[in-house]
Symmetry: C2
Subunit: 343 residues, 2 copies
């Protein structure tokens, strides 16, 4: 089959790789209907994460089950499924506590002998714990939104859960990538009264507003902080979603948080120094991490199928899988927010 | 009047200082019935915090109101009051949100032109917002427990609130000082099923058990981590109270926390590097800070007066105020857990 491989910084290719097979009785093989490129794939693309030349890349997909191992009970060939980017067995103590992203028998698909989503097929381990099937074959128009549930929408939701967004809150979202935009949608869906998106890019601002942002602040750094304080009578935000993972974004998140607030963080931290003395003096907490998107999938899938949310709007580029290299390049150059790949 | 002053590391004295006066209509003058020495006073005593030679020190007391300014409505001369270590007006947006320790018109008593508790009298600013009176004059036997509500018991409670302790939880408390022991009591009072105290000092272990610790672990570092994991079937604690503030104590706190847990921290951070990558991969959050003890005072005062809790057990030394220097020395040398001073 064909799948995406990375060979060096800025060098991704569609390559011929072995077809996946059922290796364990808990495996499933999924024929990929749609995959996509994640902002976190760009860390490897840019050479900021170590890679092994020729390794597979990608971790988000939806598809149709082709085959299942003998132990699989909850999905069957023909089911349309969403595959979370973290494999989980659903039964370990961490899964039972809703922390599927720290499953004792799972892990990140790219670190396992599994397959990511930028290809034609994928072997999915722990199929019963990991995969969630739709009740029936979804209309093609719903596929982008369902695809976001494999990562970005669940990750934005986790930022909002971690920041303990409540109805009536003023919520600031730092980061206008697909995850940040999903965080805007999550905060609005949870009943936040004011949702403030920090974004200086007009196409992203527009999606933020479609997702429920009541305010958009184009400033950065001190000016962004001042703008949030002005919006909140000098108090700061009740909850802050940090959806980037850099030192600057984390500093902004803490600066705009009101005393007693939580910062929910989901951006993979790169060069972040946590301002512990500020946390202490302002009583601002920090929670989050690798999102247990599997935990949120049933609720978010119902919202997508009912039309209550339309997170698929984050895809502003759709390409055939053969053009995956162009997909990476356009996301790297910020010409695209997020790129969907049709195999 | 007489009050405690600090002149250099290891040099505290009882000195003649001006009597406090009503400077603002919102002030009260309190005749101190009991004061005490805080573990955080030891940072200055040891020369680890900067001081100005001759400055006042101390921030915990209970007493009887002597006089009030013209604007004070909620306390009157003759009332027995607990004075939180942070002044708060009770009406600013932070106070209204329960974050009295970040009051926009208050602050730490030692940083304000106010008086701490290691003296004969204290001027208390923002008396209406800050002071909480008992319904009647308490029995002398209750005074130590009431005194803990000015700081350590409220601070231990805040650690447990920040760590989101729930009934049935397994809670680990890092730190066996007065705050850590108060954290044990808080976790037990909140319904934790297992309360694990990390302590290698027999007198502190005994108080921890009296406060509801179900397990005491004398090991430190990796061995302590292993012991907690063994106790929790390899999963870790549901909530961790970090009541020290050093790099080592914070590292232990994160090491014993289960995925999805919160670390509640109340030890003033000194040399702490927050392990952001561990937080991210394990989804362990961090919250806490300067405790809003005023927010917890009504509930905790009712618990003390009813006998439901007896946090005054943390005082294992009582001295006349004249012996304040011996009080500091014995706490510094860990001969005393916490020293009560009778003026």
């Amino acid at each position: 089959m064909l799948a995406t491989t990375i060979h060096a910084p800025f060098d991704v290719r569609l390559s011929e790789v072995p077809d996946p097979t059922i290796d364990q009785p808990t495996d499933a093989i999924v024929r990929i209907v749609a995959g996509c490129i994640c902002g976190s794939d760009l860390w490897s693309y840019r050479g900021e994460n170590n890679i092994t030349a020729g390794q597979r890349i990608g971790h988000e997909h939806v598809g149709v089950v082709e085959a299942v191992g003998s132990a699989v009970r909850t999905v069957k060939p023909g089911d349309f499924v969403v595959t979370p980017f973290m494999i989980s067995d659903g039964s370990c103590p961490n899964c039972q506590a809703g922390m599927h992203s720290v499953c004792k028998n799972g892990g990140f698909v790219s670190n396992l002998p599994a397959d990511g989503g930028q290809g034609q097929f994928a072997r999915v381990p722990q199929a019963d714990g990991t995969l969630v099937a739709t009740p029936e074959m979804p209309d093609r128009s719903l596929i982008p939104s369902l695809l976001t549930l494999s990562d970005v929408m669940g990750t934005g939701w986790h930022a909002a859960v971690s920041a303990r967004v409540r109805p009536g809150h003023t919520v600031v979202v730092v980061g206008d990538g697909a995850v940040g935009l999903s965080g805007v949608l999550a905060a609005a869906r949870m009943g936040a009264e004011k949702v403030v998106a920090l974004s200086r890019h007009e196409p992203r601002q527009r999606i933020a507003r479609e997702f429920g942002a009541t305010h958009v602040i184009a400033e950065r750094g001190d000016a962004a902080e001042a703008a949030v304080l002005e919006l909140t009578d000098g108090v700061g935000a009740d909850a802050v979603l940090e959806c980037v993972g850099t030192g600057q974004s984390m500093a902004t998140a803490f600066a705009v948080a009101r005393p007693g607030a939580m910062v929910g963080f989901v951006g993979v931290p790169h060069g972040v120094d946590v301002p512990i003395r500020t946390m202490f003096s302002k009583n601002v907490g920090l929670a989050g991490g690798v999102a247990p998107v599997r935990a949120y999938l049933p609720e978010l899938m119902a919202d997508v199928l009912s039309g209550a949310i339309n997170p698929g709007l984050v895809f502003d580029q759709e390409l055939p899988l053969a053009d995956v290299a162009e997909g990476y390049q356009s996301m790297h150059e910020r010409r695209a927010i997020k790129t969907l790949l049709w195999p």
